[in-house]
Symmetry: C2
Subunit: 381 residues, 2 copies
């Protein structure tokens, strides 16, 4: 995936590259497969499904790949509906992102316009064309209306992603004794994500600082359980379910490691590699672990400067760089950088211990799990 | 439900009153039942689930009741997870309405503030309280931000409704051979609704008129298949599934009848009974069958007046009454009212024929189905 990646992660990144292929293929065929019922709907569903597939294909598809890994851990043998489970994970993620981007007012994602931003531009063009056809001025409508239509269509497309995701799950669980558990786990973890997202929205709209425990709980729900524990456990359940609990626990640690790395990339990361701009978390006023620990540790005299450096909003490139350098210096001086590194080390140790104890049927599977720990901890994008 | 209801519908309205009781009870217990996983999420999920339950309880719960009716048609015997299916139907509906109200910018629903409108008011109050605490002026923020936060939380709550709905389904399908079919039917019909809703949004944002076929396809997806066919078939599948196809067909006709009656109430209906204002569909510029037929049938000279009467937007009470009277007069003069009545009569005949052929195990069940035809056709609210 990335030439700069630590060689220890190679087994995982190779695995992802390999498993992405059938997932991508299944996503690409989504529009044609679904043309049955949806084609009767006014407007048809094909165009929407193409948009969804395209959006999914631009992602890393880690969640889909982890379904396969969870199944291999449980000794998958032959076709067990894994591809439909993997596609479901990617569709759920697409739906959540489509909605998140509306809430965060983000206009780019994965190096392209967000779902609602693209709809808004299209609505604007349609208004203009209609106005021309009526020989009125192009300015005969309120541009806020185009944005609202873009957001409305983005809400619908996100909903469609969820429903197509559950439709994919329904195909996956045919003949599976643990089918209801797969459905139950997916829906309850997604419910946790929805509630966690509400806290995120409230935090964004408030001047109050958020405590470390709340931030860690957020990391656990929105990243660990949802992005790691869930797909690994779904893969395991698709086979037998015996390993599901151990994999849920492993996902917790992998997720925390992934999220802390995400925060590092969101603050210091390069725009080219991540698709986000440097300091994007800063501009969005994201409540991160680093921020909570720094604000708790900072002496009275630094508190105001720090709050200002962390405050949401656009700023010039020079100012942004200065804010980031200031945060980095303070994190070193106050020992916050070290304390987070120590937390990472503990999570990494726990993850490695769980993997050591997993009764894995194949050495290669163990190498992929070990590479995964390396990747979530040290990835460059 | 309503003293003015035609006596023929009595068996159906009695049935609804009876079945609402256990559904309402299950919805009321939702917040406490779910406190396991969601209580770990930052912010907790209990408050959100209480909001959802309260919102559901203000509805008619027709979809939930129809699950029981579908199961009775298929000769349900004992506990077959029906209540969890019924709760799922109500939660799906709540999620769709929460999202629809954001798209339509509606501020009241079921006689109370809509989900996002209530969140927006709460966000506004929180901003004001925080500004007071910081001893700043109350006007230190942009009110549009409160609306945006309200909409963002409304999107999340809608998502939570869907996920809780699927969680409820997962409980319902334990040990059911046709469980995957239930899940597949729910998700594919919901996908149709999402796509249909996108057309609805596009129609609202366009000056172009919509053809009758498109409007009827919309009625079929958003009302017939989703609100009638789906819950009836889910109930049947929960028992055996043999009747599911016939009930899907019956749902089609019931839905068309319901939607045409809904249009009549949305144009001429009284505010007290329906919870919507008179002419609410007019103010929203809703693309109805009546509108499409009138615009197609109107002579050149009336076309402009008619388009203006149907154009979206607020207007004075007197003007609204005049517009409605004009539409009613033209619908009579052009024979459009009669043509729609004939369409209703045909759908009613088809529905009664399907019911006659259903191999129903009990006479009382047949009476409820017959009452249902009466109710969808002539209900007063």
């Amino acid at each position: 995936m990335d030439t700069k990646i630590e060689s220890g992660a190679a087994a995982a990144t190779r695995y992802f590259s390999e498993k992405r292929v059938p997932i991508a293929e299944a996503l690409r065929s989504l529009p044609s497969r679904e043309s049955g019922g949806l084609s009767l709907v006014p407007g048809g569903g094909t165009e929407s499904l193409e948009r969804i597939a395209e959006f999914c294909l631009r992602g890393k598809m880690i969640r889909g790949c982890l379904v396969f890994l969870g199944a291999e851990a449980a000794d998958a043998d032959g076709d067990t509906g894994l591809i439909d489970c993997a596609v479901a994970m990617e569709l759920f993620q697409a739906g959540l992102l489509a909605h998140d981007d509306i809430m965060d007012r983000d206009e780019t994602r994965r190096g392209a316009p967000t779902i609602h931003a693209r709809y808004a531009v299209e609505a604007e063009a349609r208004y203009a064309a209609e106005a021309l056809a009526r020989e009125e001025g192009v300015a005969s409508h309120n541009p806020a209306d185009s944005l609202h239509i873009g957001e409305a269509l983005g809400i619908c497309l996100g909903d469609l992603c969820y429903f197509e995701g559950f439709a994919s799950l329904s195909r996956a669980i045919v003949g599976k004794p643990r089918g209801p558990e797969i459905l139950g786990l997916c829906s309850s973890v997604l419910a946790e994500v929805a509630v966690a997202q509400m806290s995120d929205v409230r935090w964004g709209g408030s001047h109050a600082e958020v405590r470390e425990e709340e931030i860690l709980a957020m990391y656990r729900c929105k990243t660990a359980r949802y992005s790691f524990s869930l797909p690994l456990a779904v893969g395991a359940f698709a086979v037998s379910g015996d390993l599901a609990e151990a994999l849920m626990g492993l996902g917790d640690d992998l997720g925390i490691l992934f999220q802390i790395r995400d925060d590092e990339l969101g603050l210091y990361g390069s725009a080219g590699a991540t698709g986000k701009g440097v300091g994007s978390d800063l501009r969005e006023g994201k409540k991160t672990l680093l921020r909570a620990r720094l604000l708790a540790a900072a002496p009275e005299g630094e508190r105001d400067l720090l709050t200002r450096a962390f405050s949401a909003g656009e700023r010039g490139e020079g100012e942004l760089e200065a804010d980031i350098a200031y945060i980095r210096r303070l994190a070193d001086e106050l020992g916050v950088a070290r304390s987070i590194d120590e937390m990472k080390a503990r999570a990494e140790d726990r993850a490695r211990a769980i993997i050591r104890d997993l009764p894995l049927p194949r050495t290669e599977t163990r190498e992929v799990f070990e590479g995964l720990v390396e990747w979530v901890t040290r990835r460059e994008k």
